[in-house]
């Protein structure tokens, strides 16, 4: 291979930071398939893994925007819990499922508007604001639920990410997963093909430059935190679908899984970099390790250690990619 060709491949890799995680995803798939050939490489298992990634995946779409912006959103797990409670509460009060779901997502969106307004209005670091919001929203969820799970009548909401019944196999994947796919295309498209998206990258890369170029920084930031919470609300809807109850103690620490997915996918916490594809691959990778570990009969603690190692290794490899002096 000529030096030129090698250089241009190197540059292509540097621009597309999701390639590394994708390779890891495929290699691990091959390894688990070789180790547990009877149960791991089946279509059923693949569908299960995809269904299990939906909650983290949808939340990761919002977090990808936040991280590219150079921010962080720690309130995602609490918003998911609050949404499940809100939906169950509305269903129990006799509201139709569609309106209950919408109500839950709108409540989540308002949480994000609150985050964004505080971050831009008070000029407090996003870490602090969303750390506070994490506690406030978790507390509100517990208050609304009276510190216990809220039972809700069963409805079609509970089938969003369930295994498809025999008659609907033509859909290939349950509707919740299709929602993730559509949302991923929309968020990916917005980031790449709209002014708003380019402005998110610009603010994350250099906020002063963005201001110099007339970008409405406050508006973009507020909108990004609002969208992140709206997507967390949709993730909450998926969580509710799986639980069938409103649980104020669900999804504790979920925000860290979401951040891990985004970071494994090639985003940097200092902002200006990241991609939807990468984040989804990151989320898939984490599910894959958990599932593969279970199939292998590894204990939970071993899986947790492996996931932790993967996060550090992924980011360390990413640093190599950004080695100073590399052309």
């Amino acid at each position: 291979m000529t030096t030129d060709a090698r250089d241009s491949i190197g540059r292509w890799l540097a621009r597309n930071s999701w390639v590394g995680p994708l390779v890891a995803l495929l290699v691990l798939y091959a390894v688990f398939s070789a180790l547990v050939p009877e149960s791991f490489p089946t279509a059923g298992n693949a569908r299960t893994m995809i269904r299990q990634t939906t909650v983290v995946g949808i939340a990761a779409l919002g977090m990808t925007m936040v991280v590219i912006l150079g921010g962080i959103d720690l309130s995602v797990g609490s918003i998911v819990a609050f949404t499940t409670v809100a939906i169950a509460w509305l269903l129990q009060a006799g509201v139709a499922p569609i309106w209950a779901a919408l109500g839950g997502v709108i409540a989540a969106t308002l949480c994000g508007l609150f985050n964004g307004a505080l971050i831009t209005g008070l000029r407090v670091m996003p870490f602090i604001v969303t750390l506070g919001a994490m506690g406030i929203i978790r507390g509100a969820a517990k208050g609304l639920a009276g510190e216990q799970k809220i039972d809700a009548p069963l409805s079609w909401l509970n089938e969003l990410i369930a295994e498809l019944p025999a008659g609907s196999r033509w859909q290939i994947l349950p509707p919740g997963v299709w929602l993730l796919v559509v949302l991923a295309l929309v968020v990916g498209g917005v980031l790449r093909y709209t002014r708003f998206g380019r402005h998110i990258f610009a603010i994350g890369s250099n906020e002063q430059t963005a201001r110099l170029c007339g970008v409405k920084v406050t508006r973009v930031k507020t909108l990004v935190y609002t969208l992140s919470a709206a997507l967390a609300g949709l993730a909450g809807l998926m969580q509710f679908s799986r639980l069938t109850v409103g649980d104020p103690t669900v999804a504790i620490g979920l925000e860290l899984d979401v951040i891990a997915a985004v970071v494994i996918g090639g985003a940097t916490l200092s902002g200006g970099e990241g991609s939807v594809v990468g984040s989804l691959i990151g989320a898939m990778l984490m599910t894959e390790i958990k599932t593969g570990g279970t199939h292998l009969g590894l204990s939970n603690w071993v899986q947790e250690i492996i996931t932790g190692v993967i996060i550090i290794v992924a980011v360390a490899l990413d640093r190599l990619r950004h080695r100073p002096g590399q052309k």
Partner: protein, 496 residues
């Protein structure tokens, strides 16, 4: 005459093809205040970096009290007795005055601080400055800048047997009273036998405090002598004295309608008052010293800083406006700080060029990367930027090419009023020439250009008229034919 305290002998330093220091010689005696003067870019800061250990010279030698002095890094230089107080203060704002003075050399026993000893040592250091009234327990960040500076000087005295103290533009952020007090401190240190290198381009100060002076120009020592008996105009001639080169294309510009009118504009702190009229097809320069308020004026016009008084009129619009409104009115700003503000270094060329203007980049509200790249390619060719791919990060380009990318953004936005802040700072001569040619071409095409520059040949070479700012006040703009480097410099230091 005994051996000098500090002797700099034919020191040279190159950065790639740029010669920053070219055989500089300088001698300072014990107990002498020696002023180092020169225009921006004359090599003052490079020389000071060599002395403070931040840079190693390529050639030449430095001797301190007769023995070779070649520090490996700034801490090494301090240990050997040469301490520098930087323009940007480097105190830890959350620590107290005493903790700052003894940072890194805290008296301790088995890891426990000896608080009494600490106070004694800090007080002793302040006593050398005759400023023991500075409270030892105050948080450094809460002190006024003038006192922070003294704490920093005290620190350099407390931490080593300091024999040479370098003060880099020490008065740039001080009020007049504080300057007088600083001079008392300098006199006290001088009486104790310390040698002081005083870097400044404010000649009044040099005459008030220094015993001898050395003038640097283009990295060379062009003159040295006793301050007493040397008229300041002689020093100015040594600083400037250079022929205008062939860099500047001169074609007649026809000034048209007013595009930008300022009337008594005052910012939050600076400028104090600025009025001017910039016309279509005109290049208007603003000269003055660093810190006079020129950058602040451009930022206030562009809406990055607030305006306290006065009016800004752009065409038919009057009043303050935010940067996005200014851009919509056809006003663009080139930042003096390319890295921190002017460019998003980690983003691609294409993103940087099109950041402020993405209309017409795709169907409806969409922005297609392919069109962003096509637009970027057009401007990169037009400005002769050396690049590999419009998708590459701007960080990878050289300074001159980065500056062209920043300019390309204004061209792509098709602004009519260009506010250029130090447009050629820190870039190579070839890129400078390209940018001068571009400015000339823009003026002929009917654009209005306002340039802030600290480089006098550039101001006089490129502009049609020049106004000078001194301590926040902007003087009247005059045709360059009526000006010389000498007259601009005299006005800049307030001796017009």
């Amino acid at each position: 005459m005994s051996a000098p305290r500090l002797r700099i002998d034919r020191v040279s330093k190159r950065f790639g093809p740029t010669v920053a220091l070219d055989g500089v010689c300088l001698e300072v005696a014990a107990g002498e205040v020696h002023a180092v003067v020169g225009e921006n870019g004359a090599g003052k800061s490079t020389l000071m970096k060599v002395l403070s250990g931040a840079l190693t010279p390529d050639e030449g030698a430095v001797h301190l009290d007769g023995s070779p002095f070649c520090p490996a890094h700034p801490h090494d230089a301090r240990r050997l007795g040469v301490a520098m107080v930087y323009q940007e203060l480097s105190l830890a704002p959350h620590l107290t005055v005493a903790e700052n003075i003894l940072l890194g050399v805290e008296p301790s026993r088995r890891g426990f601080l000896r608080l009494g000893e600490m106070r004694r040592a800090a007080t002793a250091a302040l006593a050398q400055l005759q400023r023991t009234e500075i409270p030892l327990d105050a948080r450094a960040g809460n002190l006024p800048v003038a006192l922070q500076q003294l704490v920093e000087i005290a620190r350099s005295l407390a931490q080593a047997d300091t024999r040479v103290l370098i003060l880099d533009e020490p008065t740039s952020s001080l009020a007049e009273d504080d300057v007088r007090r600083l001079f008392e401190v300098i006199a006290a240190l001088k009486a104790r036998g310390l040698s002081i290198l005083y870097i400044s381009h404010v000649l009044e100060e040099v005459q008030a405090i220094a015993d001898r002076f050395t003038v640097l120009r283009d990295g060379r020592t062009v003159g040295t002598g006793e301050v007493r008996g040397t008229p300041s105009s002689d020093i100015v001639r040594l600083m400037a004295g250079r022929q205008m080169d062939e860099l500047f294309p001169r074609s007649p510009h026809a000034a048209g309608d007013p595009m930008l009118e300022l009337d008594g504009v005052a910012g939050a702190v600076k400028p104090a008052s600025a009025s001017l009229t910039l016309r279509r097809g005109e290049v208007l320069g603003i000269g003055g010293l660093v810190g006079a308020g020129r950058t602040e004026l451009l930022r206030a016009i562009f809406g990055l800083d607030p305006i306290r008084r006065g009016t800004v009129r752009v065409g038919a619009f009057s009043g303050w406006a935010t940067p996005d409104r200014r851009l919509a009115q056809g006003v663009g700003l080139l930042s003096e700080d390319r890295k921190a503000e002017g460019l998003a270094l980690s983003l691609s060329l294409a993103d940087n060029v099109t950041l402020s203007q993405m209309r017409g980049m795709g169907p409806g509200p969409l922005v297609l990367p392919s069109r962003q790249r096509a637009a970027a390619v057009r401007w990169m060719q037009r400005l002769r930027v050396r690049y590999r791919d419009t998708r590459q990060a701007v960080r990878e380009l050289s300074g001159g090419n980065q500056q062209k990318v920043a300019l390309a953004r204004l061209l792509h936005h098709d602004v009519d009023v260009f506010l250029l802040d130090e447009p050629t700072r820190g870039i190579d001569v070839g890129s400078k020439a390209d940018i001068y040619a571009l400015i000339d071409e823009l003026a002929r095409a009917g654009k209005a250009i306002l340039i802030v520059s600290s480089y006098l040949p550039e101001l006089l070479g490129v502009c049609d008229r020049v106004a000078v700012m001194h301590r926040g006040r902007l003087g009247a703009a005059r045709p360059v034919a009526d000006l010389t480097e000498h007259s601009v410099l005299m006005e800049a230091i307030g001796q017009a």
